[in-house]
Subunit: 306 residues, 2 copies
């Protein structure tokens, strides 16, 4: 059971060595993370893109390319299709975004011939280790689905539970968050939170415990839960998964954690056949490396279930 990012790295070291296919790999920050992931034994990489540019950046990073497979494809969209097809064909275990815009990258992820579609909707999961909280927190969705419907939220929960399980945590507690912890008919987020709770009780959502609506303090702070007398609730400051009402709430909390708290984090796109690493240019170096480690752990689990 992973309680910290170090536990995840330990878990990676017990997996078979994974390989990440990088789409349009001529990107400084991405190559730097890929290099560190290899050096730390997290994953090897296949670099697809403009070979000259890749070699130029690698030289600057003192990165020995003889350790990597490099596939020259000059055109950006073609490079992405080549990279994703490597994952599709089982030659790599996960897929990572390089110097390509998110739209073009997602187009390759969803490509009907060589992409990683499963028929399930995609969603985004962030894993956080936060100073003062004694276990990992999984946040969704902070980057991908703008205004999830009730049905989307069920998919988000299922997708996220899969990632949580891969990290060795069974039957996670899911907190559908809102400004308040009581149902208010004038606040749709609270109504949907109660509906999700009911659906879980009735077995329509499985493999987790859903309890909402919850305010953030009741979800993550056992002291606050005690102080507010939330003793009857299934979640009392010990949530594993934080489900956000919409992308604004999710993204603002995500950035609040990254920019004001002491954290380690990694992010992954899920609902796909293999893990997809879609870090943004605002993510720092360690976040990118952590995301590759997270991808490796998830790839191991998906491999087992094949």
């Amino acid at each position: 059971m992973s309680k910290h990012f170090n536990d995840l790295l330990e878990k990676v070291s017990q997996c078979s060595k994974k390989k990440v296919a990088v789409a349009v790999a001529q990107d400084d920050a991405v190559l730097e993370a890929v290099k560190a992931a290899k050096e730390r034994g997290i994953a090897d990489a296949i670099l697809v893109g403009d070979e000259n540019k890749i070699r130029e950046i690698a030289a600057g990073l003192q990165m020995d390319l003889s350790d990597y497979e490099v596939i020259h494809v000059e055109d950006v969209q073609e490079a992405a299709l080549k990279a994703v097809s490597l994952v599709h064909d089982g030659k790599a275990d996960m897929y990572m975004k390089g110097l390509i815009d998110t739209k073009g990258f997602l187009k390759s992820v969803l490509d009907k011939e060589v992409g990683l579609r499963t028929g399930k909707p995609l969603s985004h999961v962030c894993v956080f280790e936060i100073k003062g909280i004694d276990h990992l927190l999984f946040l969704s969705d902070v980057a991908f689905i703008p205004y999830p419907t009730l049905e989307d939220k069920v998919h988000i929960i299922n997708n996220t539970v899969e990632i949580v399980n891969a990290c060795g945590i069974q039957n996670p507690k899911v907190a559908p968050l809102a400004a308040v912890e009581v149902v208010n008919p004038k606040m749709p987020a609270t109504v949907e939170a109660a509906e999700l709770t009911k659906m879980c009780e009735e077995g329509q959502i499985e493999g987790c415990i859903v309890d909402g609506p919850l305010s953030l303090d009741l979800a993550i702070d056992p002291q606050a839960a005690k102080h507010k007398g939330a003793t009857g609730r299934r979640i009392q400051g010990d949530a594993d998964i934080l489900l956000f009402p919409d992308i604004h709430a999710g993204n603002l909390v995500y950035k609040c954690l990254v920019h004001t708290a002491e954290v380690k984090n990694g992010n992954i796109l899920t609902g796909t056949k293999a893990p997809v690493i879609l870090t943004s240019r605002s993510d720092d170096f360690e976040t990118k490396v952590n995301s590759i480690a997270l991808g490796a752990v998830v790839a191991e689990e998906l491999g087992k279930n094949k």
Copy 2:
């Protein structure tokens, strides 16, 4: 100009001594904060409520009631009306919630005879000192207006600018927040953020600089703003006011700051004739004291403008 809570306390020490009228004062946590506020020279208090219960709690807190005016009113709603009328009549400078539910308390605030109505809509402002950020941040609305319309947002900005000014900060920078920093017609929060920016440029919103939509990193982190190349924007990680798209986003960020970052904070209700202190039972002791200090600073400023 206040950059830290200590600057606000310094400012309080330069004001004439203020007095807070407490509605239904028989509340442990509130009396403890009122006692500390008096000991620290922040404000005196008039305690309205059930005198026996007030004396009992005060004894437990080793609080000498001979330093306070105590007015016995047993009925909760009548006690609130008595307390608010003291502020209405100028016998106290600010109004604070004790052991009364928020609904009943607000009813007294809005009472047509003895309340503190101005005709302007009320809104809630939180002031934060956050480790790693070199100036105070003012958040609104995280507790009062659930789904602000564009018009509500203009009122929220005006109400908040008044509080910021009282803290000695002129022409604050206002960041209407969203998940992204570009206008997306499918995301109403980004469209309204752009409209507020335009309204400010055209002089319909005065006394501040509005620049949105902004993601939280661009609003509060100058390094992130630089990294993302936001050099053309009026806000580059140096926002004073964070305007939230709705109460869920605001409240979740508020609780995220309180429960995961190193902060000092105080909260106030504004849009009223005098400052209203509406702390919640989840606010800790220092937050309650800080809120009284904030109220004193705002009362001084409102007094000047009379």
